[in-house]
Amino acid sequence: MEAEIYNARNGSDFHCDVEYAYNSGFGLSHATVDYISNAKGEESWLRKFRHRALDIFFSKDLPKWFDHGEVRAMNFDKIRYYLAQGEKVGHTWEDVPDKIKETFERLGVPENERKFLAGVEAQFDSEAAYSRMKDALLERGVIFVDSTVGLKEYAHIFRKFFATVVPVDDNKFSALNSAVFSGGSFIYVPAGVKVEQPLQAYFRINSENFGQFERTLIIVGEGAEVTYLEGCTAPRFDTSNLHSAVVELIALPGAKIQYITVQNWSNNVYNLVTKRAVAHANGDIRWIDCNIGSKLTAKYPAIILKGERARGEVLSIAVASNGQRQDTGAKMIHLANDTRSNIISKSISIRDGVASYRGLVKIAPGLSGCRNKTCCDALLLNGGSQSATYPMIQSIGSKNRAEHEASVSRIDGEQIFYMMQRGIMEKHALSLSVNGFINDLVREFPMEYSVELKRLIELETENSIG
């Protein structure tokens, strides 16, 4: 049984030895930034941008609510900031080097691409190894490339929106990303184009003592629609890996963006990510954020509701197992009248895992007709499991409404007994109960993901009673 759990939970726990043409070496300095900029052959504005960001990173403290001892102890000099093969991005899987292709095949990426995706980008350490989108979308003017290509070939659009949603100095890790970013997706959907099937990015960390800093920028034109999926895995190493992405979404008037994450990093990855979106008038943005892996995740997807009647939603699932800390949440910033936001967060703490919800709902002065509803439910599986909720609501004026509901529950012994009286084994009863707890949220995921998600959660749960 242990072996079975290990294999399924850690089906991604393998790595391959590859030669890197580019390796920035250990540590972080202005020389590191120059190394990355040279490797990518960047223009001087970008090089300056990176250097300025690095200065900000050095000068900034960790966020003040950040009391995680492990992060304070993290040694930024023991990480390599850029590892790349220096090959062109493949547009067919035949173009991808064999070892890397094999990695993504084992992770099921090409299979999913054939089954239900409109486009795929597969990133291996610092750079994309593969990227392809259906021709029909290309003809309609949709752009889906990695950020390196995006900056080269679509600089006029990229530069206009880049770092406008997440300023470089937003926090220490957004500054770090801005200094050393590489990879990630650049998506542009022209006005009126509805991309029916999801676009997917798969982020793979292969190397030890490595930091992955992808930068994703998604711009969706008036009345256009897109769904973006991201998956992430890494092999387990004894040393720490760092993943610190910045993701910016822009929904122009009436546009609709759905961004779905299934984060299953191995338990040695620090996952410190800044995700933020802007919704213009009648825009509609939805973050569906599922965190199962990593050692520590600190991530609070945000939506700035900038135009009237914009809508925002964050659905968050976090599972904190033994030794894990999931510090997740959401931020909703209402800046226009009649904007609506909704946050549903469900967390499960197993053994000594700690899952916390940290949220901010802000309604700017002078507005009316704004609504927020926040609902946080936490489930504790074992005696030592912990959960915490830190909501903050700043609502000014009487013409708006913000509601917050929170619950913490333990698995109900009578429920488990009832199921066992029907012949169901205790561990299965437990996982039925846990799946029941998050079922309404899991249903929001595409089928292919929800099956996988349920399976992962079942295994974590069944493992909890040993």
Binding site: Q415, R422, G423
Partner: protein
């Protein structure tokens, strides 16, 4: 084989004795009724038989098919064929009727339970109990009326086909029409190879589920045993007289 034999069973809950040297034999194929005042220990007996963790066996034995089941976890006892229809069935938020029933069915089957066969059987049983088919996607027992919960307990009997059935106040909260449907469901199932214990306060149920024997219980012991005539004298004079 489904004979249930309880020998000199003593049970405590949190240090308090609930059953004292309790003995009862229900041979295969028979339905026995168990009556008695509130607090007599009827539900405790049922819970002890199915292995509820709150009930501690102090001494005595419970034999099913001649083998002791004491010490077996509740799910194993269930898979041997022992089923308790709860007085207040637990609500299972987020677990649909269909998912739950299928998990329970799968738990006792070595082969994969196919979706087609499962739904066919489920719909047949639901029709018999006049349960609307839309219930399959609702969370088990959540927001169900008292009567609906009882029908779903019987539905599980029809689906899981246990051989030893304990009905704990299946009639509480049921109107006469629902009672008839529930009794009809049970009667369609009882018979050869099935033993059952029917716990109730009222004669009304026993007019629809006619027992082979009646036992009156008080303070953790059986005080009288007999046939249906015992029920009549109960209705006339109450537990006090019958017990003494």
């Amino acid at each position: 084989m489904s004979t249930l034999e309880i020998n000199k069973l003593s049970v405590s809950v949190e240090g308090r004795m609930i059953l004292h040297d309790f003995s009862l034999l229900i041979p295969e194929g028979e339905v026995h009724a168990l009556m008695g005042p509130n607090g007599a220990g009827k539900s405790s007996l049922a819970n002890a038989i199915v292995g509820h963790p709150h009930y501690k066996i102090e001494s005595g034995d419970i034999l099913f098919d001649g083998a002791s089941i004491i010490g077996l976890p509740p799910d194993e006892r269930a898979r041997l064929g022992i089923f308790l229809s709860f007085q207040c069935p637990a609500e299972l938020p987020g677990i649909s009727v269909a998912n739950f029933m299928r998990a329970a069915l799968q738990a006792r089957s070595k082969e994969h339970v196919s979706a087609t066969e499962f739904y066919k059987k489920l719909y047949e049983c639901m029709d018999l109990l006049r349960i609307d088919r839309s219930f399959t996607s609702r969370s088990m027992n959540v927001g169900f009326s008292g009567g609906e919960k009882k029908r779903f307990e019987i539905l599980q009997i029809l689906m899981l086909q246990p051989t030893c059935i304990l009905l704990d106040e299946i009639d509480s909260g049921l109107d006469i029409d629902a009672l008839k449907i529930v009794a009809k469901g049970f009667n369609s199932f009882r018979g050869e190879g099935i033993s059952a214990l029917v716990i109730t306060h009222y004669k009304r149920l026993l007019q629809h589920i006619v027992p082979d024997a009646v036992h009156i219980m008080d303070s953790g012991r059986i005080v009288r045993s007999g046939g249906l005539e015992l029920v009549d004298s109960l209705e006339e004079s109450g537990y006090q007289r019958v017990g003494t």
